[in-house]
């Protein structure tokens, strides 16, 4: 019998999932370039978060969606091994967010059944109103996500891009009125907000279990720059 009480120990995985809108509207005003820049800029911050949280194994996944969901990084990948390849927006692509959330729920089905992982952190970025051209509705996709144990307990944050972003749907995705919902109106804001959301989600998801009413409490950054995406026709 081993002298170590309780058996082997391991760092718990923290699944960090970006759900990114690459619909046709993301081609306007340099939004897709700004999104790529934002993800590129957030990766070093996530590496810092990983180093600051040695008890959590931070694993990245990226799901893009337009007419249909597509995994950009499907295998949970340690943040140190993520090499970002720039996304392209889909010309005239729809915003099939419901299908994306359904695909996300399917992926979460394969997570550990027990408590051996931290709740996932999910960050959704979208610039438009969810469409239903081929797949399920936004409501159905969201319900599929919330029916999943990990989807329901996930730390869910969302960022709207520009004035056409459907903030009502993004709020429903977050589910918690106390959690800030941000809208980026220029590239600088998008970077700032994604960095903020990533760090906030990482901190919340990887901390020890806390008491009731303890969600995301970090204050978001104040808006910077001109609201160019809200003034574009």
């Amino acid at each position: 019998m081993s002298d170590r009480l309780g058996g082997a120990l391991a760092r718990k995985p923290l699944h960090f999932i970006f759900v990114l809108d690459v619909s046709g509207s993301m081609m306007r005003g340099g939004r897709i370039q700004a999104l790529n820049n934002a993800i590129t800029e957030v990766l070093p911050h996530l590496r810092d978060e990983a180093r600051a949280n040695p008890h959590a194994e931070l694993l990245i996944r990226v799901l893009a969606f337009a007419n249909e969901p597509q995994w950009i990084i499907e295998e949970p990948t340690p943040v140190d091994q993520v090499h970002w390849k720039r996304l392209e927006a889909v010309p005239r692509g729809f915003t099939e967010l419901g299908s994306a959330l359904q695909a996300l729920a399917g992926a979460l089905d394969h997570l550990e059944e027990n408590n051996s992982a931290f709740p996932p952190a999910i960050i959704l970025v979208s610039d438009g109103r969810p469409t239903q051209s081929s797949g399920v509705t936004f409501a159905e996709g969201l319900q599929a996500l919330l029916n999943n144990r990990w989807g329901a307990t996930a730390v869910r944050l969302a960022l709207g891009v520009g004035r056409d972003a459907d903030m009502h749907s993004l709020r429903r995705f977050i589910g918690d009125e106390e959690v800030p919902l941000l809208r980026a109106d220029n590239p600088e804001q998008l970077v700032e907000y994604i960095v903020w959301a990533s760090k906030a989600a990482s901190k919340v998801a990887s901390r020890p279990v806390v008491g009731p009413g303890s969600g995301v409490t970090a204050a978001p950054p104040a808006p910077i720059g001109d609201p160019i995406w809200s003034t574009l026709a």
């Binding site: 019998m1 081993s2 002298d3 170590r4 009480l5 309780g6 058996g7 082997a8 120990l9 391991a10 760092r11 718990k12 600051a52 949280n53 040695p54 008890h55 959590a56 550990e112 027990n114 408590n115 051996s116 931290f118 709740p119 329901a152 307990t153 730390v155 998801a205 990887s206 901390r207 020890p208 279990v209 806390v210 008491g211 009731p212 009413g213 303890s214 409490t217």
Partner: protein
């Protein structure tokens, strides 16, 4: 022969709290009486979040409160040792749990009166929910003769181990535990989250019990079976190495999950001394507990 119970305990700060320069948020308190063989153990896990910025105090007050009310309950519980008293024992324990909540609230209120929230804390909403800052779980067990009472609010593990090395969890699951949040003494109607059990050590052939905060179990690779393995090991070690050795090992046993898992890690044990192979009731590491009032 009346059963005699021995207690051991340990606690270690988690690496996340060291990183965040927070004090340890767990608390543990044990009491035992060699003459009567009775014992009480309690562990508490303060939430350690900025909204629960006094949870280190909250957990300490919870452990003190639990030992206080359970000690007071023991004579009455002992009188219920006998057939057909199961419901009465559970009713007594539920009333004791209500008393625990009242005692904790009274101690928190007293602490708050002596240490009012700062204007910044009031601005942040602390005064609107004055108990929230002290949020904590509580797990406790008390033994008198062959009866063992368990009560728990929040996460963590209460485990009993038979003389054959078989571990079991005497309390029902808490459906509100989602792995992210825990039920708490600071929530509205904390008794809604109360779990209680009374076990007859003769029926279940109980050799030892242990309580631990979630910091001990969460980083385990075998998330479903670690507590069985822990129970089996503790019994085996009690017999082959002795309780002195266990006491010496506890700091390292707790330090490793606290370092790897990040959370504070605390364990309290209550070992029955008349189990075959265990006969060291003199090793209790009882900490000074508040005196029970004379009129209790």
């Amino acid at each position: 022969m009346t059963a005699c119970w021995t207690t051991l305990s340990g606690t270690t700060i988690g690496s996340v709290h060291v990183r965040d320069q927070l004090p340890i948020q767990d608390a543990v308190l044990t009491w035992s009486d060699l003459a009567s063989g009775q014992a009480v153990i309690a562990v508490a896990d303060g939430h350690g979040h900025k909204l629960h910025f006094r949870s280190d105090t909250g957990s300490a007050l919870a452990a003190v409160s639990a030992v206080e009310v359970l000690r007071r309950m023991l004579p009455e519980l002992g009188a219920l040792d006998g057939p057909d008293n199961g419901e009465a024992a559970l009713d007594l324990l539920s009333r004791t749990a209500a008393s625990l909540v009242d005692t904790w609230v009274a101690k928190v209120t007293h602490h708050l009166e002596a240490n009012p929230y700062s204007p910044a804390e009031v601005e942040a909403g602390a005064a609107g929910d004055p108990l929230r800052a002290y949020g904590t779980t509580i797990l406790a067990a008390a033994a008198v003769g062959d009866l063992i009472a368990f009560l728990q609010i929040g996460d963590g593990d209460s485990v009993l181990v038979s003389a054959h090395g078989e571990a079991s969890r005497p309390l029902p699951e808490d459906p509100d535990l989602d792995g992210l949040h825990t039920t708490s003494l600071c929530q509205p109607r904390p008794l809604d989250a109360l779990r209680v059990a009374v076990v007859d050590a003769r029926v279940d052939d109980v050799a030892l019990i242990f309580l631990c905060t979630d910091g001990f179990g969460r980083p385990r690779v075998d998330a479903d079976g670690w507590w069985r393995e822990t129970g089996e090991q503790l019994l085996e070690f009690s017999r082959t190495r002795g309780l002195n050795w266990i006491r010496d090992q506890l700091p390292e046993w707790l330090a490793e999950p606290a370092r790897i898992g990040g959370d504070d890690t605390t364990m309290a044990l209550m070992v029955r001394s008349d189990v075959d192979g265990i006969s060291r009731p003199d090793l209790a590491d009882t900490l000074p507990a508040p005196e029970v009032a004379d009129d209790a």
